[in-house]
Amino acid sequence: MMASFREINYAVRPAKSAERKIMAEGYRRLEQGWPLSSYRYIGMGSIYFSDFLVFHQALGIDRMVSIEREIEHRKRFEFNRPYACVDIIFDEVSNVLDSIEWDSRCLVWLDYDGKLELSVIADLRQLVQNASSGSLISISVNVEADRPPSNIINVKEQDEWRLNEFEQKVGENLLPVGLSGADLRGKLYGKQCWEVLNSTVIDQLVKRNGRPGERPDSILSKQVFHFRYSDGVPMLTVGWLLYSSADSPKAEQCNMTGGIFRSDSTPFSIEAPKLTPKEIRHLNAHLPSGLPVSRATIKKITLDTGISEADIQKFAAVYRHYPQYCEVAL
């Protein structure tokens, strides 16, 4: 397999870039419950370390671990280490998660390029099993639907193929009950991935908590992030706050609801229309205006610029986070 950092420049994927900033904003809410300085960030920094840059700069987190499997390129990774506080561990994710000491609160983001599969589920299980109260764990996967091979033309057979393919990826146990191949077509695929990830968290917490009944040390989960975005391939990010029953008031204080937060199956869509710098400046001048943008404002902007209402709404949802690119000579 080609090392993915050689295929993708993570810094210039605009939706991803916006997602990082949105997550930083989400993380900042944790300060209401637990001091941000008490957190450790665990991520997969590649050679760009874009997430490490944002979270160190924006949140001041100074204990950071980057998991990296490409040990052959060790030198390059170490050369690109952005701050001295970033510890790069060269090993498979599951081995690193095995060896980490879990006594301190963590922000973990397992940002996979690939699709949801058994190893991803296994890693998520390990996180849910171990993360201490106050930790926020997130996982990103590619949710592009599987394409049946061209020799399967019959729609029914295509659906059977989809179901079979999905079952092979996620295993029989976590397959949503009553799932049919038609539920895995195109855009529906991401919803099923979300279902599987959520079942994984619930299932693992039952194992972790042991004896039925809530006690002060029982760990609870609350979904806080649910993003969908695409820089070419559709991606899904889900994040959960894990907290002990005793820490429920703290979790409550963080008030991770509304805005960028999502606690259910409806994702927050990070999607920006293609706009020129001039259009962006013009739109910014009318923002913030609350969501959805009022009819009067839309009418005015559309009249001035010709930008469609849908594009205006999309832009208004992410305008603070969406990057703008221009070429500079370094």
């Binding site: 052959e72 095995d98 058994l118 194992k207 972790r208 042991g210 004896r211």
Partner: protein
């Protein structure tokens, strides 16, 4: 035929009873004596049933010597084609326990518990008697009392009455304290043996499996000094050991579930490596010292979890692996064992929780064993002169688990670090004459060159940079 006649007869009594004591809207649910005698005895192997009887002796030993030193205590089992006996000097059964609990079917909720007892479901002893024969005699002398009872099972079956009137009778009893410590113990005799035990008792294989079953189930009490014999043959046991050296250190974890509540459950987990024996590799689980699972290589103990991604399926490469789990609780009913004590109840929360911990503890050991296997394969293929990991295993001595250093995670040497890109071997077969043609064309002499040159050719001409 005799049995059928009795069932019909018994049914009649029930009908009569029904008419006299029950109202029209009551549905009968009371069990029958036949149920206990015929159904319960089916669930258990004969050798297991006899091991259950030894559990009663062990419980006596635990009452007598709560500190756990069983030196001088004995359990002697003897059998022939006419009778079965088990004699111990393990403290006897106190008369209150005999009167109110020991011979009841099922353990009442308010029964006093023997600290860390192995008998808990209140079925073991009776089940074994019924499985063995139709007459049994129990004589027991404890520090505070003594009793003797005899039961003719056929007569007992013929006694009429509802379940709350079921009873046995003491032939003789005394509640005088006994001063002579020597006699303190229990003697059990079963006669009028049924055909199945009569036949089994003559089989060498049965005696052998009983010996090994006892040695395994009671490995820990044997270690504590008790002597158990079968027809005069004393049991030996292999002590539980793992390899330990400065390079290899087994993992040890302990956890007490709910220490602030009455009867907390203590769990200890050991995972490491031992000699490579395919049948011995796996997990061993003990409940209050009784081995309930032996060398398990199935999903019950986590093998193959998450379709093999979370934890791999058992494989001969893992034959070095040994894991020991000890569940201990003063209240034996909280332990995750099955009634036959030959397995764990995987649906209990305690086992589900501990199983996750077992998987977590085992993973570093399995990772090491995989690295070891790939080193051994490289040595076998001639790519490497020596396996450093294998060498460190051979330098590590066995250590009794009670004497291990206590490390949270398994410690093992790292394989020598790989330099350059990771390599993988490819192997395939092709017709010899085609290979010869390619060899000639490439102007090479070895098969390895044929493989790598054709691969290079494909990479150069077909792949983009």
């Amino acid at each position: 035929m005799q049995l059928q006649a009795k069932l019909v007869n018994f049914g009649k009594i029930e009908v009569n009873n029904h008419n006299s004591t029950m109202s029209e809207n009551t549905i009968r649910a009371a069990p029958t004596k036949e149920f206990f005698i015929h159904m319960l005895t089916r669930d258990v192997l004969l050798s297991r049933a006899i091991i259950d009887l030894v559990d009663n002796s062990i419980d006596g030993a635990k009452r007598l010597r709560p500190q756990g030193d069983f030196t001088g205590l004995k359990v002697e089992i003897r059998f022939s084609d006419t009778e079965f006996s088990i004699i111990d000097n393990c403290g006897g059964i106190p008369i209150q326990i005999a009167r109110d609990y020991a011979f009841r079917f099922g353990r009442p909720r308010n029964a006093p518990s023997t600290t860390g007892s192995v008998g808990q479901f209140g079925v073991g002893m009776k089940r074994t008697f019924f499985k063995l024969g139709r007459f049994f005699k129990v004589e027991s002398v404890s520090e505070s009392s003594s009793f003797e009872m005899e039961v003719d099972v056929d007569e007992w079956l013929n006694q009429e009455g509802e379940t709350d009137s079921w009873h046995f009778e003491f032939k003789r009893y005394s509640e005088e304290p006994n001063i002579q410590g020597n006699d303190i113990g229990t003697k059990i005799l079963v006669t009028r043996l049924l055909d199945e035990p009569k036949q089994s008792f003559g089989l060498n294989g049965f005696v052998r499996s009983l010996l090994s079953g006892l040695a395994e189930s009671h490995a820990l009490v044997l270690e504590a000094g008790i002597q158990i014999s079968v027809n005069g043959v004393y049991l030996f046991h292999d002590p539980l050991e793992l390899l330990q050296s400065h390079e290899i250190k087994p993992a040890y974890k302990e956890k007490i579930f709910y220490p602030d509540e009455p009867n907390p459950i203590s769990v200890r987990i050991y995972a490491g490596i031992s000699q490579r024996v395919k049948e011995e590799g796996g997990w061993y689980i003990f409940c209050n010292g009784r081995m309930v699972i032996r060398a398990d290589q199935s999903n019950i103990t986590g093998w193959g979890e998450g379709e093999g991604v979370v934890m791999p399926k058992y494989h001969p490469d893992f034959a070095f692996f040994r894991g020991f789990v000890f569940f201990d609780c003063e209240d034996a009913s909280k332990l995750p064992w099955t009634t036959t004590k030959t397995g764990v109840d995987a649906d209990t929360w305690i086992y589900r929780t501990v199983r996750e911990e077992m998987i977590h503890t085992a993973k570093p050991v399995l990772k090491f064993l995989r690295e070891l296997a790939s080193e051994r394969a490289e040595v076998a293929a001639g790519h490497r002169s020596i396996s450093t990991l294998e060498r460190s295993i051979s330098k590590s001595p066995q250590c009794a688990i009670t004497k291990l250093q206590q490390n949270d995670t398994f410690i093992s040497p790292k394989p020598p670090t790989v330099t350059g890109p990771k390599l993988q071997r490819i192997q395939y077969s092709k017709p010899i004459d085609e290979i010869e043609k390619v060899k000639k064309h490439l102007n090479v002499t070895t098969l390895q060159d044929v493989g790598s040159r054709t691969f290079d050719y494909f990479c150069e001409s077909e792949l983009e940079e």
